[in-house]
């Protein structure tokens, strides 16, 4: 006779388990959540843009542009983000087919501007020595993420990511992103064709709309799921298709322009991440959410708080931008020493 309680009882032994996260750390996390300007919604996990089919991207002018086989160098003057198939570099497991923002080098300082999905432009800057030490942030790629909010869905499920749906941005066409899969349905929205890619049964699928060299993907769970907040009904789907809009900013990044009743919301996940290591381990997550407490101040004036797991937080208090550095201790130390948030430009600001 199997008694699962007996089988699993060792999980409750205190001898092996690490100690609980200290209450002050939980308190700091709770405080940060409260500080956010928006309701927190579905948090897309960090994605590594490694789809093999994304080797060629169209530029924002519509011309075919293929960049492959060589690293994009600092100071690239193209106006649109480009992809590259990176060669083996000082970062041993650099992801392939990643999106590299245009960068400029200013007297030994690399300036790396990235655009969040609400149009906020964050200029990171760092000493080129960071690259020399083996961590060239400009070559690690950029992935934005966000979520859409729809206010009249279920709100009574504790802990559920109610009322929001994760929005992912991928380089490449929908066909490339979905690896040649045939859409189950093609609908018409402000961005043109919105394709629904279905997976057999009630498995999750997605809505996909293209803009320039990017594809915007919205999580979709076929009807038949058990959770109202994640089941995209026909009504919900029609609303998403009609309300999903976007444009490209001057640097070629996607800026979402969601129409009523959708609003753009921040997520529990970063607003974007620099550095998508294949194992997700070496990266700098960018949060536009203000600052929490600090342990000390970095050489570039950022508030530093050592979080342990997941990493080290650096925050530009005046600008409201927090960076969470994940990776080995050497990487975290180098970022603390060398990285600064040079400027933040808000939409309309």
């Amino acid at each position: 006779v199997i008694d699962p309680a007996t089988l699993l009882r060792p999980l409750l032994d205190d001898g092996v388990a690490p100690p609980p996260t200290p209450v002050p750390v939980l308190r700091a996390r709770a405080r940060r959540r409260r500080q956010r300007r928006h309701v927190l919604v579905a948090a897309p996990a960090l994605l590594a843009l490694t789809a093999g089919g994304v080797g060629a991207l169209r530029s924002s002018t519509g011309d075919d542009e293929v960049v492959g086989g060589a690293d994009v160098v600092v100071g690239d003057t193209s106006t649109a983000p480009t992809t590259t198939a990176t060669t083996a570099g000082p970062v041993p497991t650099l992801a392939q087919d990643i999106v590299l923002p245009t960068t400029v080098e200013d007297d030994g300082t690399v300036v790396l501007p990235v655009t969040l999905l609400d149009g906020t432009v964050v200029e990171l800057a760092y000493d080129a020595a960071l690259g020399a030490a083996g961590y060239p942030l400009e070559r690690l790629g950029w992935t934005p993420s966000a979520a859409g909010l729809w206010g009249d869905l279920r709100t009574d499920v504790p802990g559920s990511d109610c009322c929001g749906r994760a929005i992912h941005i991928f380089p490449g066409t929908a066909d490339e992103v979905f690896a040649g899969r045939t859409p189950a349905e093609v609908l018409d929205g402000p961005l043109g064709a919105v394709r629904r890619y279905a997976v057999a049964g009630t498995s999750p699928s997605a809505l996909a709309a293209e803009i320039g060299p990017w594809t915007i993907v919205v999580e979709h769970v076929d009807t038949g799921g058990t959770d109202t907040d994640t089941t995209m009904t026909a009504v919900s789907r029609a609303m998403w298709v009609a309300s999903l809009d976007a444009h490209l900013d001057d640097a070629g990044f996607v800026v979402l322009d969601l129409h009523d009743p959708l609003t753009l919301a921040r997520t529990d996940s970063p607003d974007g991440s620099v550095g998508l290591h294949p194992d997700g381990a070496t990266r700098v997550d960018v949060f536009d959410r203000g600052c929490g407490p600090r342990d000390f101040t970095s050489p570039h004036g950022l508030d530093v708080m050592v979080l342990g797991e997941p990493g080290t937080s650096l925050c530009a208090r005046g600008l409201g931008i927090e960076l969470v550095v994940r990776g080995d201790a050497a990487f975290q130390a180098l970022v603390v020493e060398h990285v600064q948030v040079r400027a933040v430009t808000r939409p309309g600001g």
Binding site: I2, L11, A17, V23, T50, A51, P204, S205, E219, L276
Partner: protein, 183 residues
């Protein structure tokens, strides 16, 4: 800092919540992360949560919902991109590998039910509420899960589990028939 009993309550229940969510999501690292997030949410609402009939049940329910959301996203991402960067699940060192393999082999809903009933020690009524199913469904899921675990952990020489229909013959094996009968 006065915390109206949160610290004590958290210390008392943290281990069990982590253990249950480890089983729910099949990953010790993620289980701990989800537990932390669930406790953060409890802390945010502590003035309300502490007056609930079963605050621990609420935390488990939050954790299960978080795990489901995470699993859904993971599935979407895998389907969208095919090759994703997700670290291998972390096995809890406390369990024997074969036990962990058997538990991880259960369907997600079965795993969640087992976790909530046998690790979190919630009554079936609360398990049903957390999973959004009827109590009878929980009983059936738990029964199926126990059978599946028994099958997975059965030693090669053990007899298969008894059939549930009276009079039916056990599946899988014929009665041993002596081949060298004595004359």
């Amino acid at each position: 800092v006065a915390d109206d009993g949160f610290s004590e309550w958290y210390g008392e229940h943290h281990r069990r919540v982590v253990a249950a969510l480890t089983v729910v999501c099949g990953d010790a690292g993620l289980g701990r992360e989800l537990a932390d997030e669930a406790f953060v949410r409890a802390l945010e609402r502590w003035s309300h949560v502490r007056h609930m009939d079963n605050p621990v049940g609420w935390v488990h329910r939050v954790g299960v919902n978080l795990a489901r959301s995470r699993a859904r996203r993971h599935a979407v991402e895998q389907r969208v991109l095919g090759r994703l960067a997700h670290a291998a699940p972390v096995a809890p060192p406390e369990l024997r590998p074969e036990v962990w393999a058997a538990v991880r082999g259960l369907p997600p809903r079965h795993r969640a039910a087992v976790a909530l009933r046998y690790v979190a020690d919630l009554p079936e009524r609360d398990v049903a509420a957390a999973l959004g199913v009827r109590r009878g469904t929980v009983a059936r899921i738990l029964h199926d899960a126990r059978r599946a675990l028994a099958d997975q952990l059965r030693e090669p020489d053990d007899p298969p589990h008894e059939p549930t229909v009276p009079g039916a013959r056990p599946h899988g094996r014929r009665p041993a028939v002596p081949t060298n009968r004595e004359a």
